[in-house]
Symmetry: C2
Subunit: 395 residues, 2 copies
């Protein structure tokens, strides 16, 4: 990511919004569906030996002989998951790949291939989609994966992105959410809350920008300088929001150190929400220590400025795409030398709320029941229960 590009984000979008198809822009109808696909995929190179046949037929063909195949799908919809007023299409392409790769990493597996489904509304040009694909290519290169297929079609409204990522692993290397045991250490990579604060910053500046602009380009450019200043010293937060990374490096570091986590997830909805998944599926509780939560100083400073509680941001802000994992206490010595991993707590025996015998038939109720003792231990004071505020998309 080129930091210098960031200050232009808004100016870019002004041009795009006022005239989606300028002199330099090619309407997609000129190429048609097949022409567009050929144009976008003509010089793809395959990196994975397991890629037998990629783009150009009804299905891709893969050779995952002797290994488990892993598969995950994510849908990214304009207006819900991203706002093109401040997300450059190239970054969006990168992020769309990264968040899927992250799911494969969270299984302790190696990502190998992706497919992309793209629904494109009339306001996008061939050049726009090229930008998106440029980001996809950079991500494929960075994560050493192959783009092997997909579907490109028109959409009524906005941009719809569906990405499926495949991966491989030996059966006994795979880490599920359900394996956490009492006494295990709870660890997280990188830091928490930065992506959320990056989003708050972008949203705030967008509101300011909207309020002051009058559709006047030179005015908007002046404005852009002001926004540039607002972003200075916050580049890291923007990067965390606009170009998150899947922590494939952490998976590799753990493997090299001889550590197999007992449970693992990526932090997409927020730490609390992910802890609930691990504890519910493993049938355990947990204690998390406030003073152990890794927080970046830019995030702390912006939270202060925006009157947000930084601990709440770290617990419930989503999209960090860091790895949350538990591992056996005996791995402690091997864990400590690994860079960028933080021990934030430990697994405790589960406690459940009493089952309502009238309404809940035992098996189903138990299955859906969450342990009640997921606790945050503050710096000074009594443990407080964690709540999975996460992201309810449907409210």
């Amino acid at each position: 990511m080129h930091i210098s590009k960031k200050s232009c984000i808004f100016a870019d979008k002004i041009t795009n919004h006022q005239s989606p198809i300028t002199n330099h822009m090619t309407p997609i109808s000129k190429l048609g569906e097949f022409g567009l696909i050929r144009h976008l995929t003509q010089d793809l190179t395959n990196r994975q030996p397991s890629t037998v046949y990629a783009v150009g037929d009804d299905a891709a063909v893969l050779n995952h002989q002797g290994k488990r195949t892993l598969v995950t799908t994510d849908l990214l919809l304009e207006g819900i998951h991203f706002n093109l007023e401040y997300v450059p299409l190239r970054h969006l392409g990168y992020k769309a790949v990264a968040v899927n790769v992250s799911d494969i990493c969270a299984m302790n597996a190696t990502p190998t291939q992706i497919t992309i489904g793209l629904g494109i509304s009339a306001r996008f040009s061939v050049e726009d989609i090229e930008e998106f694909y440029a980001g996809v290519r950079v991500a494929c290169e960075h994560y050493n994966i192959d783009l092997v297929g997909g579907d490109t079609c028109a959409s009524m409204n906005g941009l719809s992105i569906a990405i499926t990522c495949l991966g491989v692993a030996d059966d006994n290397d795979i880490v599920y959410r359900k394996g956490a045991k009492v006494g295990d250490l709870i660890c997280v990579s990188g830091n928490l809350g930065s992506a959320y604060l990056g989003l708050q910053l972008l949203e705030r500046e967008l509101q300011v920008f909207r309020a002051t602009q009058h559709g006047n380009l030179s005015k908007a450019e002046e404005n852009n300088d002001a926004i540039h200043e607002k972003f200075e010293g916050r580049e890291y937060l923007l990067e965390r929001q606009l170009k998150p990374e899947a922590r494939i490096d952490i998976v590799e570091a753990l493997r090299k150190a001889g550590i197999k986590p007992t449970a693992m997830m990526d932090v997409s909805d927020g730490l609390s929400s992910e802890l609930f998944h691990i504890c519910t599926q493993s049938g355990v509780g947990c204690d998390i220590y406030e003073d152990k939560l890794p927080i970046d100083y830019q995030a702390a400073a912006l939270a202060e400025e925006m009157n947000l509680n930084i601990v709440t941001c770290a617990l419930n802000g989503g999209e960090d795409y860091e790895l949350l994992f538990t591992c056996d206490i005996h791995d402690y010595e091997k864990l400590v030398p690994i860079d960028d991993i933080y021990i934030i707590g430990h697994i405790t025996p589960a406690e459940y709320a009493p089952v309502d015998v009238e309404n809940g038939s035992s098996a189903a109720a138990k299955e859906a029941q969450q342990p009640v003792n997921l606790r945050l231990i503050p710096r000074n004071g009594n443990p407080i229960p964690l709540t999975a505020q996460g992201w309810n998309a449907f409210v």
Copy 2:
């Protein structure tokens, strides 16, 4: 499919449109994302031995040991690929699975697993999504495949469906588009144009319905009886449009007969368009005989009534999801006894238009260049060139 349900299609939709969340409807926010997923997937049963771990973690785990894995993705967007004014959600769920299974069949492979990404706008209730999933389950049962994962989220507008289908095959069983040889027979299963005419019928009756209804329910019910009459004797066309089948039976029949096609595709965009893909990728031409095109009598009758050329419908109407394949002339004897397969022509040597030396550097131009001798041989008269009218989504 219950034919008796069809006449209720419009009446159903009136109720849905006037009050998307009635007394009986549960808002999705009540369950939340994870609640909805649990609700929809709690009693899924796995049918495939290769399904190691399905829904409930970051990725599904599959064991395709010693086989090639195949993967295909399709995006289905409301307003582009389907109109919920006449497509019941249960049928849509079935069709969304079938069209992906069809892509795996078209590679001469066995479909094994699917993932579903669902973007749901606020006008849908839990019951609506249950209906969609009911169709998905029936399809999974029918095609003997497992639903192993997905993503469920909110959308700004309408329903977005992304389905990925995985399959397996031995390496030397896989059939690509690129293998057709001069002299090969060109075959198609079932019949052509019926799905397109089913769509024309639904669209016509929708227009009539819209024109005569005044938001009055009893009036609409009267109307519904009239529509019921219009659909009588056309049930097959509606079924072809609303509940297409992937021709997994044809793949099995060919295997049983010891026939491996030299090239194969499914007919989704239209016969002409698919022939262009096979001929371009195989570097061949073709002759197709008008009097050999398999056409259903309901399709022929409706085309007559609507003043449509039935041959044009058969050549360019999409969504039949029949299999188009080429096979060696020596397989003729084995081919004839198989039910529901029709020989419609044969492969000829390719002829190309002269390359413009000024503009086209040979390799790229040649690669993108299509043979010019794809021909339709009419009942009486001279061969006429086929044109890939197909479906350009971007016009």
